[in-house]
Symmetry: C2
Subunit: 331 residues, 2 copies
DNA sequence: CTGTTAGCGCATTCAC
DNA sequence: GTGAATGCGCTAACAG
């Protein structure tokens, strides 16, 4: 029965004009006396304002669009948590659309969100194409990317190159000379290129890095086990914790001991990596913080302010039990 | 620059009235000639209708509210996937709110969603309180619960009792006589009561079932390891795969072999359970299907149709490597 | 401090 | 078939 009462109704009840009610609602000048009356009437009727009318009038929709690649991913979950922390606090509601890791669908989602009248859009992208850049230029609302970066658009990302570099230096110091980097396709620039390249550059001439390509799933990594071990590496660095987990299963089956027979490391710092056995050494990304910063930045953009693209998210190497000093063969 | 063009603008361009444009948009009578002109104008300008104005006018918002307990959970992710399958296909957009496993917040989310003018709400609840029931009665839009059930509200759930029963029968047949059920608090009726009770009833007088309480996190389960093993059970049944995973870490550390020393099983059928070593025997729930059915049911409710509460989701026991026949001590 | 007035963009009578 | 007129519920000048 609620929901049908309008500000006109409560204006009538209080013998005031609806302007006064509107002012009451929006913090304008209203006499104490009327304030009381209006407050009572609102409580009694259970009145709630009509968002559509309000938005139609004010142009500010207080709606944010978010495009994510998939929903069932730990990192996306944390990112979303961070984002909603900020938007909840600022009275924005978010419309979430799922691109299913499809770049084309991603563009469609942006379109659809735009049509819904959102004030701005966050895109957790899996690959920025020319089409994305084109849209970013055409739309009259701000677009902010995360997950991937590109010089022609606004973005807020993890510093994947730096993360790779930390890991590269770590394994170099641990005297590993023959390692495998189990990574993903370069179509995902962040993980496929920057993260890998950071590792390679920092590892430098310490030894050889062989690259094996897989995707983000447990299963694919598990299946790559034999190929990974072909070169008898002393360590395997996986582009994500998930990948490490899949490989771990292969190791278990083959009775390959971690870290005695081979060291293993990942990226991500998911909860799961601390509950595996052995616990996985990894670089943790604070996706929740990334989400918060991304949301904050979008808000700035919406208000016409500038944002700082270089404001990076802290990275932390979490040393656990899956890596040991290499026992180098006599050469 | 797009987004500002209204039906009035394109009406002017075509020398027709905006009524005609509106008719064109909504499939009313328009002459072929005008149809063409309007179509061209729309394409040229990139016109898109203002959702708020439309919704203000038509009352149908085509918006659905969804309340979930957390975002970073596999089951919630799958559920959401199923839900969005259906809503995407029916041109509904969803507003998602996160309750953080807090019953009070859940009610607030429902309120907030209602105020946003959604046509209906799906609540993936972690506990239905009197407040929930009260709201369900007051609101003039349909409310559909999932995750938890209650005789006073509409719901669509997994049959947790049946799932527990399948597991109970399984362990009974496998001759286990001294087992531990590592479950969660009864405040979560579905998992805490029905799932457990189903197990106990089906296991029956085959032996003793000791109950140990934990929460849904890996870590808590890991910490309960010692308490779980105190009674030297031949099998541990965990209320979720996550819980099994946490316990597994304890077993690994303690050199307790699964399934040789103790059998282990979970509920959920998450991907992760197939990549653990040993692979976890579990009961898989099709959360995606549940999501689809839930969404479909809400649509029916919105259209004033009846829904079938008893239409259950299929359950499947997935036998893998973590359970073996009990080697019973001579008695 | 308050009421009156005028739209926001659209769908929908109702005459033509 | 089409256009003019009306109002959805609300905010924002504007004069009082």
């Amino acid at each position: 029965m609620a929901g049908k009462v309008t500000i006109q109704d409560i204006a009538n009840m209080c013998q005031v004009s609806k302007s006064s009610v509107s002012r009451y609602l929006n913090g304008g000048y209203v006499s104490e006396e009327n304030k009381e009356k209006i407050k009572d009437a609102i409580e009694k009727t259970g009145f709630s304002e009509n968002f559509f009318a309000k938005r139609l009038k004010t142009k500010k929709t207080c709606l944010i669009g978010i495009v994510i690649p998939r929903i069932d991913s730990v990192s996306v979950g944390k990112l979303l948590n961070g984002i909603s922390d900020v938007f909840d606090a600022n009275n924005y509601t978010s419309l979430i659309q799922i691109s299913n890791l499809d770049s084309k669908k991603e563009v469609q989602c942006i379109q659809s969100l735009y049509q819904q009248g959102v004030d701005g859009i966050i895109v957790d992208s899996c690959g920025i194409t020319k089409k994305h850049i084109e849209m970013a230029g055409q739309l009259d609302i701000p677009l902010l990317f995360t997950g991937q970066k590109n010089e022609y658009v606004n973005y807020k990302v993890i510093d994947d190159y730096a993360a790779g570099a930390i890991m590269g230096k770590y394994f170099r110091n641990f005297k590993h000379r023959n390692v495998v980097f189990l990574g993903v396709s370069e179509s995902d620039e962040s993980v496929g290129i920057y993260r890998k390249q950071g590792f390679i550059d920092a590892f430098g001439d310490a030894g050889t890095v062989r690259f094996v390509e897989t995707d983000f799933s447990f299963l694919a990594a598990y299946r790559k086990g034999a190929e990974v071990m072909k070169s008898k590496p002393t360590a395997v660095i996986c582009a994500t914790d998930n990948i490490a987990l899949g490989l771990m299963r292969y190791f278990n089956e083959q009775q390959i001991k971690v870290p005695q027979d081979v060291s293993l490391a990942g990226f991500g710092g998911y909860d799961i990596s601390s509950v595996m056995y052995p616990r996985l050494t990894t670089i943790s990304f604070d996706y929740t913080l990334l989400g918060q910063k991304t949301a904050l930045s979008l808000l700035r953009l919406i208000n016409g302010e500038e944002i700082n693209l270089q404001d990076e998210i802290p990275l932390k190497l979490i040393e656990r039990d899956s890596v040991q000093m290499a026992v180098n063969e006599i050469e």
